[in-house]
Point group: C2
Chain length 311, copies 2
Amino acid sequence: MKKEDLIDCHNRIAPYVHRTPVLTSRLLNKMVGAELFFKCENFQRMGAYKMRGATNAILQLTDAQKEKGVVTHSSGNFAQALSLAAKSLGVKAYIVMPSSAPQVKKDAVKEYCGAIIECEPTLKARNAVADRIQSESGATFIHPSNDLNVIAGQGTVCMELLQEHPNLDMVIVPVGGGGLIAGTALAVHYFSDDCEVIGAEPFEVDDAYRSLKSGKIEINETTNTIADGLKTQLGDKNFPLIQKYVDRIIRVTEKEIIEAMRLVWERMKIIIEPSSAVAFAAVIREKKSFKNKKVGIIISGGNVDLKNLPF
Amino acid sequence: MKKEDLIDCHNRIAPYVHRTPVLTSRLLNKMVGAELFFKCENFQRMGAYKMRGATNAILQLTDAQKEKGVVTHSSGNFAQALSLAAKSLGVKAYIVMPSSAPQVKKDAVKEYCGAIIECEPTLKARNAVADRIQSESGATFIHPSNDLNVIAGQGTVCMELLQEHPNLDMVIVPVGGGGLIAGTALAVHYFSDDCEVIGAEPFEVDDAYRSLKSGKIEINETTNTIADGLKTQLGDKNFPLIQKYVDRIIRVTEKEIIEAMRLVWERMKIIIEPSSAVAFAAVIREKKSFKNKKVGIIISGGNVDLKNLPF
């Protein structure tokens, strides 16, 4: 992907997504001894950066493809993002969701007019049902993270951050399926001179950390983390970008995630989801490496179930 | 108070307080059928607008007075505000708090270096202890809401809102001790042409509603509301301003407050305290009167105990 591709993508999706603010907090700066710039995708439409990638992917379809709709499998933010992006663009969205997905997530997809197709809660069933929808309806499958159009869309988050703060020393970003970090790494590569890209991951799902060590895509045997957006694994399209451009990954404990989330809620008065707190938790955990640096932190989203908080 | 007094006050406190953002939400606009402009004092220093009035009151003291410190009685945001404002200005703050105040509030005052003096949880004890501190230390008493310097400071919230959105049809604001609504009413009087000022109050503590009806300051026999910032009563300095400039007061139920708070948390991804949700709850309750209007909503603060949420 070229620099121009990212610029074109940013222009293409601009009418359909928010340009989110970059917030700062004197108090949190003081606490960690660094200058922190929080890029707040929790204020993005439907509450997460995934709106960007979903919108870009749909906009890249031909008219004939758009007419037949799009399909994905996700029980998280991408399901909502694809539903809302499709709705905004007058396209039908089929969302394959495990029958075990929480009602609150099903309701969110329905609110954005996504058509839910339930499947058994296994990877195999999920793929099989998505395949069936594709062949029955002719809808185009869009992967939540392993798709270059999606990756370009997610890269626009960091592009905007660097437009406003070109001299960042580091950008830190949570790692789930790899779409956001791959897009972020590309944006840093093209739009900054000397900025590190650091991933943040829970110890409980440290597949990306292990993948970078081993040189091949690793999976998580268990996914016992509060950061429910980070349970997925890397893909063959984003992993090479991550290998090439990401400097390192910091792992954090569940307790550190909850504490970072509480700090942001209490001190910044903004609602961020656990997956977003992982990036700030990594900065707190390794304070020394961030000392006196200008650090961009990507707040990926703010979708939480208020009935089920960890505080 | 003259227009110039408000302008001077705004300039005086500017170096010590944040200019807070005005946020909007397409989704909430659509829900109520009006254009809403949320002035977000939850992002103010120490998390509430009270920082403004406290700062202005201290800045108006003589050097000799400043040397002897300030004293107030409050168990809420004003205790924290006066402590932090005093700390910023190198002044000592004595805070009289009922012994029954929650530990989380005492801790917040301590964090801002306020000196806590505990008293029995009665109005009489509170006043007696504050009197004693004044005569022993020579500190100046600053009332949380019934003080013209405090009222001017609180008025700068709406001044800023009107600078950015001069054509509002209405401004709606929660009513507690009366300082915020009195300042807001003055700002609307001096800085807009044809804008209504509406107060919002829980049914459970509708003393201001009753005071406007009866023409004298009424009190609350019980204060059984989640909006803990609104339990106090009006004073002889702010009531005349409220009588003169406030158009009406809308009362809301506890259920409506919690629902409004949940909507703002979930949809806008910002943390507001129950007292702030009262203003938005009033807009939802009386949707019809706000239809197609441009409505300013003052979000007074964002200090909540995350361990004790109503969801």
